[in-house]
């Protein structure tokens, strides 16, 4: 289970919408409890360093990655995972995500659907859109299993709406 507090969700939504229609990306920091539950305490927004079309790809530069590891060390947090957005696509990992994925990390995907193309599943979104009538936001989180396949990681639903 991964816990995304409303404050963290809002930061992720902000980044996803600000970057739309490009993919946003960044790091997730926090604690992992003994039972494997992950609590996200802070995020680090980084540039999508993908050359060319960023609407369907993201890349994080190695130097940004090293910065993130140092950031975790400085704050005594654990680097728990990566987030990125899927503009106009559901929050399901693509084959590109899977091939490049690291073991153990949580991959939180933020789906940003334009309302007029939103499917039934996206209508299930629990986030109120900051731009009502424009976007539907939906979160899902994924972790690689031993077979190098993604398994969904439950996101704790603490809603204050």
């Amino acid at each position: 289970m991964i816990i995304l507090e409303p404050r963290i969700r809002q930061l992720l939504i902000d980044d996803a919408l600000n970057t739309f229609p490009d993919e946003c990306c960044g790091f997730l920091f926090g604690r992992e409890e003994r039972d494997g539950t992950r609590l996200i305490i802070d995020i680090l927004v980084v540039d999508n360093s993908k050359q060319g079309d960023k609407t369907r790809r993201f890349e994080i530069s190695p130097l940004d990655y090293m910065t993130a590891e140092q950031h975790a060390l400085d704050h005594d947090w654990t680097l728990l995972g990566i987030y990125h957005s899927h503009p106009k696509h559901p929050a399901i990992p693509s084959e590109h995500d899977r091939i490049a994925a690291q073991p153990w990390f949580s991959y939180v995907i933020i789906s940003v659907m334009e309302q007029n193309t939103a499917s039934v599943m996206e209508a299930d979104a629990t986030e109120p859109s900051p731009h009502p009538g424009k976007h539907a936001i939906h979160f899902r989180s994924w972790v690689l299993n031993e077979q190098q396949q993604f398994e969904e990681e439950k996101i704790a639903e603490y809603q204050f709406t």
Binding site: I60, S94, R98, T117
Partner: protein, 527 residues
């Protein structure tokens, strides 16, 4: 030695070690050394041909080895080598909204349940059915699913997000009813933390009024409440802390006549009393009613905590106070806090532990202190936990119980009731008559000097805490009227003087100086 910094996701293959030392050489030899020492790293660093995987970057300092001599790059003694996973990804190739035919889905390797939740309707149908409705429904359902308001959810957020505690435990707190007996040194932190934690219904039993000497440890109260009943002061404080809970107050002495009636409506009892008769009373009433009794006590530098009469998940009943102390100590052997003193911070520590155990009993989270007895020695900073067991000869729930109803606990503990003898009282009106008639009497004010400075009626000032030391200043051969703000402290002073020094000429001014101002001199300052 050179240092290799292992990225977080690969640390599970290096025994959670972030930094590894390797000998000097080249990147190639470094990777060899790493994969030999940690074989599980191999498939993540090297491909089938034994080459460094394309999505693994290796840096020396801030330089990518691809910009240096690749695997042949030299690793010097003081080199810092970072293994940096390439982080990349993207959306599926197909454009437009996904449907069940999305070609990427079969490769997800996601569990069947995830697949089941994939969209089955084409997006156009969703649009036709109205997004607004579809969005609103889950929110409504969620609000019906649990009885918390959004304000409560915000208030208890730090509980709800604790793994293993969560909404479930918070809901148990909300539906729980806890009776806290005694709102003094132990009761203060217990009540503050239970109210803050969101225990839905809290009962408070106390007969006492707030005294200035309480404020050294009874953090529930402030100077403004001196002279007021503790239960009322406590209610005001707790209402201000948490408006989402219910509070019931009992401004009374707990005794054999009222104990069962008061305790019966609660799920958990928290005993924070300071005397043996009440402890046995609370214990016996809890056992007779089958309720867990979270017990704590303090004396000078030592505190004790346990959970009595607790039935665990396996249905086994734990010991109670009578298994620990079959009989009370002789009267006078163990002094009360008022007599023996207590370090003010100690009830804060022990009362917090008591609140902790109450929360564990309610929520079922963790292992309670049932069957164990915890002692904290503040002076040496030592804790000990003893195992305690049920006794066959326990008179209330052993093999042959002899106590089947509440008894006279004052007599059982060899003490007479503190409140038995009524005090001699005088009303403000009568006092005024004495003054007008020029009766010979002494007037003593037992309030604090700062209160005396605000307003006084010409009495001799002997603050409550110094009464015993100044007993020789108090006349024995004429009536002595003792007053404070509303009458509580003067009553204490009179009892102390009667018990320790044998006075029999003391009168308590009913309603204190406030009553006198109201009835005799309304022009004086009230505070």
């Amino acid at each position: 030695m050179a240092t290799v910094i292992i990225p977080t996701p690969l640390r599970k293959f290096t025994n959670n070690t972030a930094r590894l030392q390797v000998g000097p050489g080249t990147i190639h030899s470094t990777v060899q050394e790493l994969t030999q020492n940690f074989p599980d790293l191999k498939k993540h660093l090297l491909d089938e041909g034994g080459n460094i995987r394309s999505y693994v970057n290796i840096f020396i300092g801030n330089d990518d080895i691809r910009d240096l001599q690749q695997e042949k790059t030299a690793v010097k003694e003081d080199a810092i080598i970072s293994i940096v996973p390439a982080i990349a990804g993207g959306s599926p190739e197909t454009h437009g909204a996904p449907g069940p035919d999305d070609p990427m889905q079969p490769s997800l390797g996601a569990p069947a349940s995830t697949i089941d939740r994939m969209p089955t309707n084409p997006p156009t149908e969703a649009s036709a059915s109205g997004i607004g409705h579809a969005l609103a429904r889950p929110l409504l359902d969620r609000s019906l699913a649990h009885p918390f308001t959004k304000e409560e959810l915000a208030r208890y957020n730090r509980h709800i997000i604790i793994p293993g505690f969560g909404m479930e435990a918070q809901l148990k707190l909300k539906t729980a009813k806890v009776l806290v007996i005694g709102s003094g040194g132990l009761g203060s932190p217990v009540l503050l933390y239970l109210a803050a934690a969101g225990v839905g219904t809290i009962g408070i039993v106390d007969f006492d009024v707030v005294d200035d000497s309480n404020l050294q440890r009874q953090v529930l109260f402030g100077v403004d409440e001196i002279g007021k009943p503790k239960v009322e002061a406590a209610r005001r404080r707790l209402e201000g802390l948490n408006p989402y809970i219910k509070l019931h107050i009992y401004n009374t002495h707990l005794n054999s006549q009222n104990a069962l009636e008061i305790l019966k409506d609660y799920d958990v009892i928290a005993d924070g009393t300071d005397n043996f008769p009440t402890r046995y009373l609370v214990n016996d009433a809890s056992v007779l009613l089958g309720k867990p009794n979270v017990y704590a006590s303090i004396f000078q530098f030592e505190g004790q905590v346990s959970v009595f009469n607790y039935r665990n998940a396996q249905g086994e009943l734990g010991p109670n106070y009578r298994d620990l102390y079959p009989t009370p100590p002789p009267p006078g052997l163990v002094p009360s806090c008022a007599e023996g003193g207590v370090l003010g911070v100690l009830p804060g520590i022990i009362g917090s532990l008591q609140a902790l155990e109450v929360i564990k009993v309610i929520t079922g989270v963790g292992e309670t202190l049932a069957g164990r007895f915890y002692i904290f020695d503040a002076l040496n900073f030592e804790s000990r936990t003893f195992t305690i067991r049920r006794r066959k000869d326990n008179p209330i729930n052993g093999d042959n119980p002899t106590i089947t109803a509440l008894i006279d606990y004052e007599a059982f503990c060899g003490m007479r009731a503190v409140e038995e003898r009524p005090l001699k009282e005088i009303t403000a009106k009568e006092l005024y008559d004495w003054q007008v008639r020029g009766e010979k009497f002494q007037l003593i004010d037992v309030r604090e000097p700062h209160e005396y400075d605000i307003v006084n009626i010409g009495a001799e000032l002997i603050p409550l805490g110094t009464v015993a030391a100044n007993s020789e200043k108090i006349d024995r051969d004429r009536p002595v009227v003792v007053h404070c703000k509303v009458g509580g402290r003067s009553a204490k002073a009179i009892r102390e003087l009667e018990e320790k020094f044998g006075f029999n000429n003391l009168y308590n001014l009913k309603g204190g100086i406030l009553a006198y101002i109201d009835e005799v001199q309304p022009e004086l300052t009230k505070y």
